[in-house]
Each structure stands twice: as C-alpha cells, then as structure tokens.
C-alpha cells in the first residue's frame, strides 16, 4: 500500500528570530547573559554557566576557529567556535578548504537559513 503525504510547515521563529536574521545576513549573533557575561552561539535561552535567563543579543562580528571536521557522502561539517562565544557550533563546511583552521559565517538568504562557514577574508 502506498501513501504520499506532503507537509508544508509554517514555523514561528519566536525568540530565535534575532539569531536567524543574523544567519541570513552573515552576522554571528549570540545570546548573552548579563549575570555572568557569557555569549552563546548558537543561542541558548538560559545560560548553562549560571542558569540565568539570557537577556540580550550581541553581534560577535569576528571569525571562528575550526575545532574538528568530518567529511564523506553525508557532507562536510565542522565544529567551530566563534570568537567571543563560550560554546562551539556545528556548521556546514563544504565551502572551506580542507586545511582551513579559521572561517567566517556565510550569509544565507535561503529560507530557512542555516549555519555555513566560508573562508575568512585576508586582512
């Protein structure tokens, strides 16, 4: 028996909207905890350090350090920590050279946006 179901979701972005807007524009926007000063990217609603509600947003601005990376038929992904963030993130890395150790956030105008890393521009 065959059954085909097509589902189109309309997902509310809610408290994550500032972060998602940042992804669209290539800006790493972190949630911040005024109690302990930590910045979290990807954002957390409650700070894991002090368990206070994160109550602000900050554009981290800078690049990220590649911590580790995996490649194969499932794609190319990296764990990276953005400068100024307390935690690391998982991101697509298929636009990065294999030996890259640094990267920046790519602008992602797609809907929905996602985290993708590109080569850090030379300064």
């Amino acid at each position: 028996m065959k059954r085909n179901v097509t589902l189109e979701y309309a997902l509310g972005e809610g408290w994550l909207a500032p972060w998602l807007d940042g992804l669209r524009e290539g800006r790493p926007v972190a949630s911040t905890c005024s109690a302990c000063g930590d910045a979290h990217f990807p954002p957390l609603r409650v700070c894991p350090t002090c368990r206070s509600r994160c109550d602000g947003w900050r554009n981290l601005g800078g690049g990220a350090t590649i911590l580790c990376r995996t490649q194969g038929t499932d794609g190319d992904f990296a764990m990276a920590r953005f400068d100024g963030a307390r935690i690391a993130t998982i991101a697509r890395a298929d636009r990065l050279p294999e030996d890259a150790t640094r990267a920046v956030l790519a602008a992602c105008p797609d809907d929905p946006p996602f985290l993708s890393l590109v080569t850090e521009p030379r300064t």
Binding site: P48, Q71, D74, G75, F77, I87, A88, I90, R92, P113
Partner: protein
Amino acid sequence: MVLVIGAAQTPFNRRRDGSGFRDWSGDAFEAALAMSGIERRDIDALIVGSESDFFTLQLNPASVLAQDLGLCGAETLRVEGGGATGQLAVHAGVDRILSGRARHVAVIGVDPSASTLAGESIRELYGYSFDFWTDGLSGVTATALYALSWQAFATANGGQIDDLNAVTIKNRRNAMSNPDAHLPREHRVEEFAASPMIASPYCRLHCSPLSDGAAALILSAPDAAPEARRNRAPRITGIGAASDLPGLGHRADPAVFGAKSRAAQRAYDMAGVTPSDIAVAEVYDAYAGAELQAIAALGLSPEPIRSLRDGDFDADGTCPVNLSGGLMGQGAPVGATGVGQTATCALMLEGRYHAGLQPDRPLGHALADTHGGVGTTCAVTILSAGATA
C-alpha cells in the same frame, strides 16, 4: 523491584513480507504474554515506545495497539525520547508498578525504521532528532555528529580506526548466533578500507542499520506475579535517566556522554550495585565508536579502548558487551531497541537466551543502555537475576 515475567522480540531486519508494525507488535506481545503466565485481562497498562509518527503514519499508536492486543480498558501511554524511546518506555512501565498504579504492565517497543520510507527520508528525519533550529537546518546527519564526537574521544583516549573495526567485527560476529539479527556477518579487516566513507572516520560498516521490528515485556509487581514466575523471573532493580544539552558544541566536552554517566549512577544507586557488579551489558552502539564512549560513561571500564583490545568485551571476556550483536549486528528499530535490550538482559539472566550466546556462568546483574541524540537523552536499566534463576 519489578519482575520481568515475559520478554520477547521479533526478528530485527528489513521486512519484505508485506507485514507492518501492528503485526510485529502483536507477535512480540503474544510471545511475551505466553511466557508470563498471566492473561491479557490481568494487564492494567500498555506502554508503547515508538519514536516517530513519520514511520508508522499513526498518531496515538497505543490506542490501536491496545485494540489489536485485546487490552482496551487498560491505561495506554505512548513514550518517545529519540533513540532512548524503548528504554524510557520500560521506565514508564516500572514507574506504574512501583507507584502502585498497576500490578501488570505490557511494554511494547516498535518502529518500522527500514521499510516504510526511503533511506534518504529517514536520514532527513533523524537529522531533526537533534536541535532542528541549529543542527537540523544545516543538513547535518546523525553520522556526522557522532563522527565529530568520536574524533574528540579518540584524540583524548588514543582511539584508532582499528578500534572502530574491532567493535564492528565483535558485534556482527555475536549476531551470527542470534537468529533475530539484521546483520550477522564475519567481517574481514580489508572490507573496511573498501567501505564508503559516510562521515570520516565512520565508513558504512561502522554504522548500525535501519531496521523494522518489535519487542515486548510483561512487567509485574512481585506479589502479583504467577507462582511459577515469582522466584525465577529476573528483576528490574534500577532505572536511571538524564539529559544533556542537545548541541555537541554546547557541552564542556563533546567527547563525553555526561548524561549517560548521570543516568547510570542513578540506576546503580537504585539497584545498590556498582559497575564492577555488571556481568553483561547491552550498550547503545549506534556507531562503532559510540559503544566505547558509552562504556566509558557507564563506568564499565576506566580504559575502554585498552579493555577492547584486551578482549574484555568479547563473548568470553570479563564483561561481554552486546552479545545480541547490539544495534550494529542485531539491528535498530528505534522504539524496539531499548525494549529489546531489556528483553535480552532478562532472558540471559534467566538462562533462556539463544544457544551460543547464553553465557555459561551464572549472571548476577545485567545493564541495558540507550540514548537519543548524541548521548543527549539517556536511559539506563539494571536487571538482576531471580532468586532461583
């Protein structure tokens, strides 16, 4: 304590016979019920572990299974916790009995993870079992996340590709004596180099398969168990569950399954045992390296890689791990996995497991371990032998 008076499972494999999850649930339940010595009218509650309505195309599966199994009138509950679904369903059943709300509980774990959807669709759905908004939208797969976690563990503990191969060979070799296993294989080392790389360092052979199947338990309060089962039946003596941050990068150490350690400690404390008391363990080996990470978190060895190389987890080792073949060899129909692990432990403790896999020494305590996400939603169950096993 709670008695396991009935335990059974169907084969875990990819069904090509036109059967569905309602058939498998019925088969596993009837076998467990026959072993239990009670009647279906004695069952006060039905707990169903099923990970996703996307697989079954059936919301509220417990309602239709209660109807199929002749349990209408009993309390019904569906439990979901990613890969930990089955084990959490067992815990929900144990809680019903310990709280006095039920004297007999049927627990069924079931999922058609292999045959109802294309592999590409299943892979996408599993990507959503991590944080959809951060990880899921990037298209990252379970294999890629596990690979990143293993890399961190291997760096800290000296793990090599050979160790991933050794876990794979061990579990699939065990599966060769398990007639219910999905991937019974005698792998040769050279096969690994030829296996497609899915997410480095994991090649296809290092991954557990998607499977169809069901498993069932009949749990009983000690004073409600039939006389014939009261002394012999194994006991669930400890349960523990805990959670971690879903994002690997959010954790202090992406190599460590910290929630699993917390879940295990809760289960050990409840059972009044320590890791050194565990005689056999069914451990969540969704990927080869995850078995070693789990063993470390469960405290079954302070140096799991050295213990693996020494043969401690082999069928004739000091603490055999995944005698069933585990997820890698026996298979992984998600909701059925944890229930099947518990059934395996119960049957081993009672001396009723498959010939060729049943340890030939008396077993005191066994451990069943699952998690959802990459060690995110963790559930551990300790079982102990009955008085006259």
